[in-house]
């Protein structure tokens, strides 16, 4: 157990280092340069040809130095807590993240709140009633939600209440601590859209975990002893099926982040997903690479925490 924890902890910095190299490297492969955009925006088209101005701007952005020097500088800055400034808005990236992070965090939280009970509930029901009509029904509906593109679902969610009842979600975005009521309405609908698409994934995994547990000897023994079906499920099977499901939290997180990229666009939420899209299109490299590093690290940490807690709960892992 101890060696397992130590091994995982030792690998953490390696993974994060790889993350930083990858984040830095990938954004630099994107063609197009911020220098061109900046030159033409401020000086007009003819200025983009002026080599002196170009050199000055490149020096300003640090683009004149070799790539590995740029990388080392960047890592050094991030380690000292200096996240740099956006090339697009010239705002400190720390401030931008601080403003946008709560939006996405709240969205993710609400998504999870809806996602986990729907996913696990339908999965278990479906497993217990395997190959009966309600199993088919649930599987069909969850797979149907998985099959509807989430941007279409979101559009329908906006348009159907509009056409039927002339209702539109309140706009613009309000912060939770300024007007909680408005904020919750604005957030719960996009969260539900994200959750419905994602819950199907969780549901089918929960179903197969549950099926696995249901055919274990101790469950069969309990059934043979005449313990009622409900008690078998609640007391024996559910608890044991939940342990492997913990490992899915990482997946749920990744799904939620991917969903936020789409959902924030449609519902006008100023979160991290929208920031990423804007920054990618504007070639705002510092923001994109930090975004990647930030979410990548968060994901790795979540998975680490999950694996460790899994090791604590499951004796088979503990004594390996």
């Amino acid at each position: 157990m101890r060696t397992y924890v130590i091994r995982r902890l030792l690998l953490l910095p390696v993974t994060v280092l790889l993350l930083s190299v990858f984040s830095f490297g990938l954004v630099r492969l994107v063609p197009g340069s911020v220098v061109d955009a900046r030159l033409s925006n401020t000086m007009g088209a003819s200025a983009s040809a002026d080599p002196e101005q170009r050199a000055a701007l490149e020096a300003h952005f640090g683009l004149d130095r070799p790539v590995h020097v740029q990388y080392v500088n960047w890592v050094g800055q991030v380690l000292t807590g200096d996240f740099g400034t956006s090339w697009l808005t010239r705002e400190s990236i720390m401030d931008t993240f601080a403003r946008r992070m709560p939006v996405t965090a709240q969205l993710l939280f609400l998504t999870l709140l809806l996602y986990i009970p729907i996913g696990i509930g339908t999965g278990i029901w479906s497993a217990v009633r395997r190959n009966r009509p309600d199993d088919y029904g649930i599987r069909f509906v969850t797979v149907l939600f998985l099959a509807i593109p989430n941007f279409w679902l979101a559009t329908l969610v906006v348009l159907i209440p509009l056409v039927l009842w002339r209702y539109a979600l309140p706009a613009p975005y309000e912060q939770l601590w300024v007007s909680p009521g408005t904020n919750l309405i604005q957030m719960i609908v996009p969260a539900a859209v994200a959750a419905l698409s994602g819950a199907a994934v969780l549901g089918r995994l929960a179903r197969s975990e549950m099926l696995e547990v249901l055919r274990q000897d101790y469950v069969r023994t309990a059934q043979a002893k005449g313990v009622s079906g409900r008690i078998v499920v609640m007391r024996h099977a559910l608890r044991n099926a939940m342990i492997p499901l913990i490992t899915l939290i990482g997946l749920v997180f990744a799904d939620g982040v991917a969903g936020s990229v789409i959902v924030e666009q449609i519902f006008g939420l100023p979160g991290m997903g929208r920031l990423l899209v804007q920054s990618i299109f504007a070639n705002d490299l510092p923001v994109v690479q930090l975004w990647m590093l930030f979410f990548g690290t968060a994901f790795v940490l979540i998975n680490l925490a999950v694996d460790l807690s899994y090791a604590v709960f499951d004796p088979r892992v503990r004594f390996q």
């Binding site: 955009a37 509009l162 209702y167 706009a171 613009p172 449609i266 504007a282």
Partner: protein, 377 residues
């Protein structure tokens, strides 16, 4: 308070202000941008909203009537239309209602009686394709002219469902200097029916004569969403004379800087005009600020310089006629398509609202607008 949905350009800040304070100061501290207009900025949150309030020091007494304005930035068409249709916003701001789809959707939902249209200054939303004249194969004026001849303006008009009108180099909003749509329809490239077949044949001939390399044509970039339909029509039109070009969509946030940086090769764009034919100087003079395609021709340069230094309609008109003729017949640094009929839609209870005779969206008569009979007020 009034809520406007989909503001694209609430404020214009003079360049000297930007240079004096820097973008950071202006973006971070709204109060740094104090103007002399009727409204001044209270707060601004990127992608969310802009709040304006009455400028107590406005130079006209008793104006503006409104205490303030709340602009709500909405980039998603369906969501934006929903806000207006549901009555949460009093105005659907430029240029969204100029998009045919949105115009139609909103009109169908709220009904004609609930939508007052304020046509904007027609020099706005000028649709043209900019060729990059330093990039193969658009270096050859024959290629550009062939594409001009191939473009089916009538199909473009159908596609935009009547919110645009056919256009030449000078917008018909600049009435005295412009050629009217009817005059344009007599010209090669603008004609239809059998005459269009002649134009297409001439286009093919020019294209063959230029000896361009078909594989060299780089993609035509288009602003995703509203630009794509135009690009798709032109792509088909060009194919009729055997010119195959790919279309590359990109969001505005990517399209505009690339266009400005000259990284495009053939690009669709909307463009604000002005009330003087001198707009052509910026677009087509070798030193022009909006000459993104780096077009350069000494004769056109000379004529443009002559045009801006000449006084009087009767003296200037022949100069600009000559410029337009030369541009269309020979150079086509841009492919002139149409002018939008950009429209601001608002509820009938908003009174006194209309464009000023300036060219920008930001100078609407907010200061003279008021509410009358708004339900629940």
């Amino acid at each position: 308070m009034i809520t406007a949905v989909g503001e694209i350009q609430m404020l214009m800040i003079a360049r000297d202000v930007v240079e004096a304070f820097g973008d950071d100061a202006i973006a971070g501290d709204a109060a740094a941008a104090i103007g002399t207009g009727g409204m001044q900025m209270v707060s601004r949150e990127a992608d969310v909203e802009t709040v304006l309030e009455r400028n107590p020091n406005y130079f006209r007494d008793g104006l503006p009537y409104f205490d303030g304005l709340r602009g709500n930035w909405n980039f998603d068409g369906a969501y934006r239309a929903a806000q207006y249709v549901a009555g949460d916003a009093d105005m659907l701001f430029f240029p969204w209602l100029g998009f045919p789809a949105e115009n139609e959707a909103v009109r169908g939902q709220v009904g004609e009686e609930n939508l007052v249209e304020v046509p904007m200054n027609a020099t706005w939303n000028w649709v043209a394709v900019h060729f990059h004249t330093k990039v193969e194969p658009y270096t050859d004026p024959r290629v550009r002219t062939a594409l001009h001849l191939a473009t089916d303006r009538e199909q473009l008009l159908v596609t935009t469902q009547g919110v645009t009108e056919i256009g030449g180099p000078i917008s018909h909003a600049i009435g005295a200097y412009a050629w009217t749509p009817d005059e344009l329809r007599q010209l090669p490239g603008y004609r239809s029916g059998a005459q269009r077949e002649e134009d297409l044949a001439e286009g093919r001939r020019l294209l063959d004569a230029s000896g361009y390399d078909p594989a060299s044509a780089p993609p035509m970039t288009a602003a995703a969403g509203y630009g794509t339909p135009y690009a798709e029509v032109m792509q088909q039109n060009f194919a009729e004379i055997g010119f195959e070009v790919a279309v590359q969509e990109q969001p505005d946030s990517e399209n505009n800087p690339k266009r400005a940086a000259g990284e495009f090769t053939l690009t669709y764009q909307g463009l604000g005009g002005a009330f003087d034919p001198d707009i052509l100087y910026g677009l087509s003079h070798s030193g022009g600020g909006r000459n993104f395609g780096e077009f350069s021709d000494p004769e056109i340069d000379a004529l443009l310089e002559q045009g801006r230094s000449t006084l009087g309609l009767e003296n200037r008109r022949p100069i600009y006629d000559e410029i337009q003729t030369k541009l269309l017949d020979r150079h086509n640094p841009q492919l002139y398509c149409s002018w939008g009929r950009p429209v601001v839609g608002h509820r009938p209870w908003l009174k006194g609202y209309g464009p000023t005779n300036m060219q920008t969206a930001a100078t609407y008569r907010w200061y003279r607008s008021w509410f009358e009979g708004k339900p629940g007020v």
